[in-house]
């Protein structure tokens, strides 16, 4: 799968961007040239040799804050996606097997979650459980989980009705065996696509929540928080929001690109794509030889 994604230009771009973002998340806080929390008297300064992206309203180094904030931002969106995966995909798979009552209940629950406005819900829950990035992310994860639920359920249903599952049943296989042996591998690719997409969504959510001041306690830096504070001083530094906004956009775009690439290379669509390329290659070769 990974090799096939890499054969697509869009897949390569997405993976490279995401690799850079991942490196930022791991080493960013260590690379920061200044202490991201240290204030100075140099308020709202423009870019310079010591402050590459200038300073903010409290005189903190923006570049350092971006680097330091990358870890929380990335971790936060991963938390959202992981939570959604666990809360959505597993019930989605077992809803096909655990009988009508569970199926009905889980379906209605998924519908309910879809209907809830997530920002409002996140605000309410953080008010209840305390304002922390983890609480906020877990709540968001639960709220986007219906997508995983539906994707996993649809994929499982097509496998569950297949003859090879019936063949395994006739051989005396248990439910656990069937899920481990036959269902899991087939459900994984669509879930992976959903996962990549959700990481993108997670970024937007983390950014918008921290933009609203939910989830992250100041002065801890995040990309969304940076964007929010930069917007407050737009008249002094009109260019400042570009850096955090660009990072957020780039990451979300890369995640969606990866999701698209994954969808393109798996299944029927993947085969059609590869065939079309071969024809083109043959025609080019034929044209060259004439």
């Amino acid at each position: 799968m990974l090799r096939r994604i890499f054969s697509l230009a869009s897949g390569r771009i997405a993976l490279v961007i995401l690799a850079v973002i991942a490196l930022l998340a791991i080493f960013g806080p260590l690379l920061a040239p200044h202490d991201p929390l240290a204030t100075s008297t140099d308020l709202l300064a423009g870019p310079s040799g010591s402050h590459w992206l200038g300073t903010d309203n409290l005189g903190r180094d923006v570049f350092s804050r971006l680097l330091a904030g990358s870890r929380i931002s990335v971790l936060g969106s991963l938390e959202v996606a992981a939570m959604a995966l666990v809360v959505g995909a597993i019930p989605g798979i077992v809803s096909v097997y655990l009988g009508r009552a569970f199926e009905w209940l889980s379906l209605r629950l998924a519908d309910t979650l879809v209907a809830l406005p997530f920002l409002l819900f996140a605000v309410a829950v953080t008010a209840l459980l305390g304002n922390g990035i983890t609480q906020a992310m877990l709540v968001t994860g639960v709220l986007v989980s219906p997508m995983f639920y539906r994707v996993a359920r649809a994929a499982t249903m097509s496998v569950a009705r297949s003859q090879y599952v019936e063949a395994a049943l006739i051989s005396g296989a248990s439910l656990g065996w069937i899920v481990r042996r036959h269902v899991w591998v087939k459900v994984l690719p669509p879930i992976a696509v959903a996962f990549a997409q959700t990481i993108g969504v997670g970024f937007i959510v983390v950014s918008s929540l921290t933009f609203l001041g939910i989830g992250v306690q100041p002065p801890a830096p995040t990309w969304g928080g940076l964007l929010a504070s930069d917007l407050g001083f737009l008249s002094y530094q009109p260019w400042a929001p570009f850096a955090p906004a660009l990072l957020i956009m780039l990451t979300v775009w890369a995640c969606n690109l990866l999701a698209d690439a994954m969808r393109d290379v798996s299944g029927e669509a993947g085969r059609a794509l590869i065939n079309a390329r071969k024809v083109r290659a043959n025609q080019v070769a034929a044209g060259g030889s004439q």
Binding site: S162, Q163, E166, A167, L169, I170, S171, G172, H182, K186
Partner: protein
Amino acid sequence: MILEVSDLDVHYGQRRRKRRALAGASLSVAPGEIVGLIGETGSGKSTLARAVLGLVRPSAGRIVVDGEDVTGYRTGQWRSLRRRGVIQYVFQDPLRSLDPELSIEDSLSEPLVVGGMSRAEAAKRVRTYLARVRLEEELLGRLPGELSGGQRQRVAVARALVTEPKLVILDEPVSALDSANRVQILEIVKELRATGVAFVFISHDLGSVAGIADRIAVLYQGELVETGPAREVVTEPSHAYTRLLVSSAPTLSTASAGRAEREALRALLNA
């Protein structure tokens, strides 16, 4: 007898929408016997097979498998019976009945591993039966999609044989195959019959079963309308539906029964 089905009734649906799929079907299969079960869409042939495999619950009648009355078996009892591998089933379309993401070796050893056999022993058994269906060992690492249709069906047959069953139910096993592969599968079946394995050969086409079955049973609208030795059923069919089947089966003989006879039989059956 390896299989004894007596007065089997199967209903689908509930209460007012209840529909009878099988009515009073009785069939027995002796070791080393090939029984052709003929019926068209909706005749109940698949229902009969599914009842014998414990996939649908009969509403009346009795099913005895290898001396064991399985009629009222619960899920757990069925599972332990299946794990002994006494009855096996071969689906019509091997491409769909083999997991596309599992190697041939994994697919073949599945019934053995599920039944509790060690991987090493299962690997040995798999190789024995692979040779029995005339396939090379190097296919074991491949995926079903990388095999030809004939090879796939032989894998499906081998999969049914690895547990050394006493009865194999084959559902239209050759209708998706070309001539050469069809003949090969039928020859394998004949060889195995000689070792005492019994077969139920399900098909909608009397012609495709006539040459290999010892006995033929004809299902029509949920009822067994005719059962007898193959030659008798083909040459002297007693029921009008069997006569229509014989007359409809394509044959190479250009002097076969014609349109007028079929027309008359259809009118008779619809009356």
